[in-house]
C-alpha cells in the first residue's frame, strides 16, 4: 500500500476540502478559483511524476497506476482547468454557494481520476458513484425549472444505470467468484467455454455492464437523458459532463472489457461486435437528430452522442486487436484528449455568448463574427475540429482512430463512420455560417472576462498544436496504450 501512488487524487481531494472550508470564511471569487487552480496544478505535478514510474497495481490489485490511467488523469485535470476558468464568468448565478459549486466539481474529478485507475469491480462502482453523485447535484445547481428537471432526470436515470451496472457485476461475480479484473479474466478462461451462448450468465453480465456504462458514455440506446440534462445544467457543467465524465467512462469500459473479457479471443470479438453495432446506432442517431436542433446546447448534446459513436469505433477495434495491436488503445486515448479540448473550448465560447444574449438559440448566433470576432473564431475552430477538418486535432484524432479500426478489419464500420462525418458537416457548419454570414441582431459587442478568454485560448492553442504537430501527444498516448496493465 503506497499512498504516494494516490497522490494526485489525494491532493485534489484535500483541495476540495480546503475550498469548502474557505467558503465558510469568505466566498470571494478570486480566492476560491485561485485555490482550486492551485490544487489542480499540484495534482498535475504528482500525476506527472507518476507518469515516469513503472506501471503497477496497488491496494491489493484494486487500483492500477499505469500510464494509461495517468493519461486519463491528465485529461480530467485539463478539463478541470477549463471548467474552473469557464465557471469564473458563470458563477454569478450561484454566488451564494460558490465554494460548494467548486468543491463538488473537484470531488467529482477525484472520482473520475479514481475511475480511470480502478481495476476491481467494487472500486469501479464506488468511484463511479463518487463522481456521479456530485454531478447530479451540479446538474440541478441553478434551481430553476430546467436545471431542476435536468438534475432530477440525471439522478433517476443515473440510478437506474447504476443498478443495471451492479446487476451485471453481480452476475460476473457470481460466475467467477472474483471482483478483480485480471482474476475474472483467468476465471473465465478456466471455464473453457466455446461461445457466449454456452453461458447465459456471462452473456447477461456482459450486456448489463455494457448497458450501465452505456449510460455514462451516452451510447445508444441509453442516450435519452443527454439532451435534457445538457440543456438544463449550468453550461460549464454541461461541458464538464460531456468531456471528463465521458473520458473516464471510456477508460473504465476499456479496462473492464479489455482486462476482464479480453480473452479468449472469441469473447473479445463478441463484445467488439456489440460495440461496433452500438457505435453505428449511436453516431447515426446523434448526427441525424443534431441536424434538427434549434438550441445550441441541445445540438452539442447530440453532437457529443455522435462523438461517442466515433470513440466506440476505437473500442470495437480494441476488442478485435487484443494484445497484438496497442494502436487502437492509443488512438482511443488520443481521440479523447483531443475531444476534451475541443468540446470544452466550444462550451467556453457558448458560455461567453449566452452570458451576453441570455439565450442558447442558434439563431441568436447570427452575425457574431462581427460582434465578437475572437470568440467566434474560437468557436469556429472548435466546431471545425469536431467536424474533423484540418489543421485541427479533430482530424488527426479521427484519422488515428479509423486507422486502428481499418487495421483490425473493420473497414465497413469506418465507412459508416466517415459517411456520418458528412452528415455532421451540415449542423456544425450551419452555426459557423450563421456566425460569419448572418446579420447581427444588434451591433453591441459581446464582452468576455479574462478567465473565459484564457480558457478559450488554451483550448484553441491545444487544438491547433495537436493538429499541426500531433506527434507530441501521439507519443504519450502510445505509451499509455502500451502500458495498460
Amino acid at each position: 500500500m503506497n499512498l504516494w501512488l494516490l497522490a494526485p487524487e489525494l491532493s485534489l481531494f484535500f483541495t476540495a476540502v480546503v475550498v469548502l472550508l474557505l467558503g465558510l470564511a469568505s466566498s470571494r471569487r478570486g480566492i476560491v478559483i485561485g485555490v482550486s487552480l492551485l490544487g489542480v496544478l499540484v495534482s498535475f505535478v504528482f500525476a506527472a511524476f507518476l507518469w515516469s514510474g513503472t506501471p503497477q497495481a496497488t491496494f491489493n490489485g484494486m487500483l492500477s497506476v499505469d500510464q494509461f490511467a495517468v493519461f486519463f488523469k491528465f485529461i480530467v485535470l485539463a478539463a478541470l482547468v477549463l471548467v474552473i476558468l469557464a465557471s469564473a464568468d458563470y458563477d454569478y448565478k450561484v454566488e451564494q454557494v460558490r465554494a460548494e459549486y467548486f468543491t463538488l466539481i473537484l470531488i467529482s474529478a477525484v472520482g473520475l481520476m479514481l475511475l480511470s485507475s480502478a481495476r476491481e469491480l467494487i472500486t469501479i462502482y464506488v468511484s463511479l458513484e463518487m463522481s456521479s453523485i456530485s454531478l447530479y447535484v451540479l446538474a440541478g445547481f441553478l434551481r430553476d425549472r430546467r436545471s431542476s428537471e435536468a438534475g432530477l432526470k440525471y439522478l433517476l436515470l443515473g440510478s437506474v444505470a447504476s443498478a443495471t451496472l451492479l446487476y451485471g457485476m453481480s452476475f460476473v461475480y457470481g460466475l467467477t467468484g472474483k471482483t478483480e479484473l485480471g482474476q475474472i479474466a483467468s476465471a473465465i478462461q478456466s471455464l473453457s467455454l466455446s461461445g457466449l451462448l454456452d453461458n447465459p450468465a456471462l452473456l447477461l453480465g456482459l450486456v448489463l455492464v455494457a448497458g450501465g456504462f452505456g449510460f455514462k458514455i451516452s451510447s445508444f440506446p441509453f442516450q435519452m437523458w443527454v439532451p435534457d440534462v445538457y440543456e438544463g445544467a449550468p453550461t460549464p457543467i454541461t461541458g464538464y459532463l460531456s468531456v471528463a465524465s465521458k473520458a473516464a467512462g471510456f477508460a473504465a469500459v476499456m479496462r473492464i472489457f479489455y482486462d476482464a473479457f479480453g480473452a479468449p479471443s472469441w469473447l473479445g470479438q463478441n463484445w467488439g461486435l456489440l460495440f461496433a453495432g452500438l457505435s453505428i446506432a449511436t453516431m447515426t442517431v446523434g448526427n441525424i437528430v443534431a441536424t434538427a436542433q434549434a438550441n445550441i446546447k441541445r445540438m452539442m448534446a447530440y453532437s457529443s452522442i455522435a462523438q461517442a459513436g466515433y470513440i466506440m469505433v476505437g473500442l470495437a477495434a480494441v476488442s478485435m486487436g487484443q494484445s497484438v495491436a496497442p494502436a487502437a488503445r492509443s488512438a482511443l486515448a488520443f481521440f479523447l484528449a483531443s475531444y476534451t479540448l475541443t468540446n470544452m473550448g466550444a462550451f467556453v465560447a457558448i458560455i461567453a455568448f449566452s452570458n451576453k444574449t441570455n439565450s442558447d438559440l442558434i439563431v441568436d448566433y447570427s452575425g457574431m463574427g462581427r460582434r465578437a470576432p475572437l470568440l467566434a473564431l474560437g468557436l469556429t475552430l472548435c466546431l471545425v475540429s469536431l467536424l474533423g477538418l484540418p489543421p485541427t486535432a479533430g482530424l488527426i484524432a479521427k484519422v488515428y482512430i479509423f486507422n486502428a479500426a481499418v487495421q483490425q478489419g473493420l473497414l465497413w464500420l469506418v465507412i459508416v463512420a466517415v459517411l456520418n462525418t458528412v452528415v455532421s458537416a451540415y449542423y456544425y457548419l450551419r452555426v459557423v455560417k450563421l456566425m460569419w454570414l448572418g446579420n447581427p441582431v444588434s451591433e453591441e459587442p459581446v464582452p468576455s472576462s479574462a478567465a473565459l478568454r484564457t480558457a478559450l485560448f488554451l483550448a484553441c492553442a491545444g487544438i491547433l498544436l495537436l493538429g499541426i504537430v500531433p506527434d507530441l501527444l501521439v507519443r504519450l498516448s502510445e505509451t499509455a496504450g502500451h502500458s495498460l496493465l
Binding site: V17, L20, L21, L24, D198, N199, P200, A201
Partner: protein, 123 residues
Amino acid sequence: MLTQFGQIALFILVIVLFISALPIAAFIFRLIGLAPHKPTQVKTSTYESGMETVGKSWIQFNVRYYTYALIFVALDVTAILLYTWAVDLKSLGAAGLGVALVFIAILAVGYLYTWKKKFLEWK
C-alpha cells in the same frame, strides 16, 4: 450451468406455492369454522397496535428533517466503524490510529460545515 439455474427456479416455485398457500388456508379454515370470527372496534382499526393518523398524511415534511437524518446517519456510521476499530486497536497500532483520525477529520469537516451553515439550528 442450466441445472444450477433450475435449482433456483425450483426454489422460486416453492416460495410462490408457500405464499399462495397461506391465504388459501386461512380462507378454508374460516369456511369450515376452525377460525373464530369475533370482530371488535379495536381489531378492525387501521393500525391495530398503532395510533390513528391526525390530519392528512399527504403533507410535505420540512426539508430540515433530511439534513438531520443525513448528519445522523453519518454519525451512526462513524460509531460503527470506530467500534470495530476499537475492538482491534492493539494490533492495528499507530497506523490504525492515524487512519481513524483521518476518517474522523473528514467527517468533522462535514459537521463543521453544517454547524457554520446553521443547519443545526431549528428556526
